[in-house]
């Protein structure tokens, strides 16, 4: 008999808190245990490692972009405008004769930085606070909880758009900072909830009874149990932020030109008849994002079923 997915918590608290704007609802779906089949102790499976390898390859390409034998992303070759994929231009060129392979790889740098860095910052800040708040209930917990609730209640895409409207020029560190600010309260809630579910378990009580220091309980007893949930949610968070940045870039509200980013390449590909003339411009970055998000979502899903993560009330 397959193990049943646990009922989604219906505590009203979870509604507002789930609300990452834009892609927030996706997180709800993704948070559900997959098919309920738990083929435990069999390793993470081929799919997981293929996905992980794909993500790693993309990160490597982005890191090595400037030493790879590809053309400069903004080099315009007017003898090759709007050409299809060929040996010279593996993915073709755009309406200004720029090499699309190079533009996608350089463009992915923005997406990857914006996807991973704020989540890592958020994990450190939100995670530390969440661990503390979950273990030490009381006024600190109440205050942090309320603050995170208000921060999450305000739709993230909206907040970022409004802030950047008045905080120009927009550069990478500002976006990264804003996105860290968006992701920290979410990660805080996940880690706090997970900590809460462990804080009164026997092994923690036993550790306290033997006179363990708080720091030992936090880092040696609680932390290892929280890592799977945190990593799984962090992967979804990375996917969410990449979507968020892509949406902003598509609207022309992310890093400004001439830096290419996947969203603004897609925007390029949609504007001024480009979709009719050369669908490749929009196609390649779309495909890149699709594959990257699929890999991240599958990894998160696999981790969740592997560690048998129950529904967490955010």
């Amino acid at each position: 008999m397959p193990e049943l997915p646990s009922q989604v918590s219906l505590e009203s608290e979870s509604f507002g808190s789930l609300a990452v704007s834009g892609a927030g609802a996706q997180a709800v779906a993704a948070r559900l245990p997959a098919s309920g089949i738990l083929s435990k102790k069999k390793g993470l499976g081929v799919t997981f490692w293929v996905c992980a390898a794909w993500v790693a390859l993309m990160i490597l390409l982005a890191l090595l972009a400037s030493v790879l034998p590809i053309k400069a992303p903004n080099y315009q070759d007017y003898s090759a405008v709007n050409v299809g994929p060929s040996a010279h231009h593996l993915l073709g060129t755009d309406d200004l004769g720029r090499d699309l392979l190079s533009r996608v790889i350089f463009g992915s740098r923005v997406s990857l930085v914006i996807g991973f860095v704020p989540i890592i910052v958020g994990l450190i800040v939100g995670g530390a606070l969440g661990l503390l708040a979950g273990y030490r209930a009381g006024p600190v917990d109440t205050v942090l909880n309320a603050v995170s609730f208000v921060l999450i209640a305000f739709p993230a895409l909206l907040a970022v758009m409004v802030i950047e409207a008045f905080w120009r020029p927009l550069v990478l560190w500002k976006l990264t900072l804003m996105f860290a600010f968006v992701s920290a309260p979410l990660l805080f809630r996940v880690i706090r909830a997970t900590t809460l579910s462990f804080a009164s378990r026997e092994f923690v009580v036993a550790a306290r009874a033997t006179g363990a220091k708080t720091s030992r309980i936090l880092f040696r007893e609680l932390l290892p149990n929280i890592v799977p949930a945190a990593v799984s949610f962090a992967l979804i968070g990375v996917a969410l932020l990449i979507v968020l940045e892509g949406s902003l870039a598509f609207l022309g509200l992310s890093i400004g030109l001439p830096t290419s980013s996947l969203g603004n390449i897609i925007n390029d590909g949609v504007n001024s008849n480009n979709l009719q003339l050369n669908p490749y411009i929009a196609l390649w970055p779309s495909l890149y994002i699709f594959l990257l998000l699929t890999a991240l979502n599958l990894m998160a899903d696999r981790l969740r079923s592997y560690f048998d993560l129950r529904e967490v009330t955010l």
Binding site: F15, A19, S35, P155, V243, F250, N297
Partner: protein, 314 residues
């Protein structure tokens, strides 16, 4: 029950209040001076002082907030400094568009997701379930700025079934109106289908294992009757919660679709306000969108307590 609702209402008011402060501070505490942006090249000290006085920006923060919020309660959200159109009248044009988008896209999503989930949950892990689950995973990785251009490419550019952009109001006839909203609605529905399918499927599988279903089966009731009368209601709570989040997010998250398809909804106006540095428009629209988001979630919350008495005791 009454006490529960009253409690929630107080929460709602507090959150709305905090959101209004947040929206206000977003614009006021940030580096960058609205008067300077508005004046542009005409920014002489004399002009600057006059404009600051006109905008009320020369007073203290608290009194500015009080003026702003009092005006809002009188239905006055200010006016665009560019077009001189009041924010309220822009809103009255924008909101119907958003409502239509939300309704059409969510109905589409539910029409697809509910039957899919029912069939999949009846025979979990069989062929249909696997195909459906895999394809929703793919849809999870298709953000609107990727799905939108692909839809335009397929249905507007290649097949020429519907116009690529533009909006026909309902007063111009139902046919043209639907033609102009169908593609954007599909683009928005893609994300929701995944959410609804996964939430409902997981809940259905759990409910189908309950004793009362076995009981109904042994009474000889037909599968269809059991599904409709016994299983759907207890399985619909997460779906409803998910719908609340989805709908709330759409009010603020339809930016990309509205810009891509040139539909003058809230998102479109907000983004254009940002492009133009029109700070009262940005502030007003952001406030309305964020409050709509919270109110929708509150309404769903309320609906849930009626459907599922257990929530009240939680």
């Amino acid at each position: 029950m009454l006490r529960f609702v009253a409690n929630r209402l107080v929460q709602l008011v507090v959150i709305c209040f905090l959101i209004s402060i947040f929206a206000f501070l977003l614009v006021h505490l940030l580096p960058g001076d609205p008067a300077k942006t508005i004046l542009g090249p005409n920014d002489t000290p004399a002009n600057h002082a006059i404009l600051l006085k006109q905008l009320g920006l020369n007073k203290g923060l608290v009194s500015q907030y009080v003026t702003w919020i009092t005006n809002i309660f009188h239905g006055n959200l200010g006016a665009s400094f560019l077009t001189k159109e009041t924010v309220t009248s822009s809103l009255s044009e924008a909101v119907p568009i958003d409502l239509e988008l939300v309704i059409v896209s969510q109905v589409l999503a539910l029409i697809v997701a509910i039957p899919m989930a029912l069939v999949a949950a009846l025979r979990p892990n069989r062929a249909f379930d696997k195909i459906a689950t895999t394809s929703t995973f793919g849809m999870l990785s298709l953000p609107t700025f990727v799905a939108g251009p692909l839809l335009v490419l397929l249905f507007a550019v290649t097949l020429k079934w519907v116009p690529a952009t533009g909006f026909n109001r309902l007063s111009q006839g139902l046919g043209p109106n639907l033609k102009s909203v169908i593609l954007p609605s599909v683009a928005l529905a893609i994300g929701s289908v995944t959410v609804y399918y996964r939430l409902l499927r997981a809940d259905l599988i759990a409910t189908l294992q309950e004793d009362f279903v076995t009981m109904a089966r042994s009474k000889g009731l037909s599968t269809r009757y059991i599904l409709v009368r016994h299983v759907m209601r207890p399985s619909s709570f997460s779906l409803l919660a998910g719908a609340g989040i989805s709908i709330g997010t759409l009010f603020t998250g339809a930016f990309v679709v509205e810009i891509l398809f040139q539909l003058p909804g809230i998102g479109y106006q907000l983004v254009n306000g940002i492009y133009a540095n029109d700070y009262l428009v940005v502030q007003g629209m952001a406030l309305v969108a964020a409050v709509a988001f919270v109110v929708v979630n509150f309404a769903v919350d309320f609906l849930l307590t009626i459907l599922d008495p257990r929530v009240r005791r939680a």
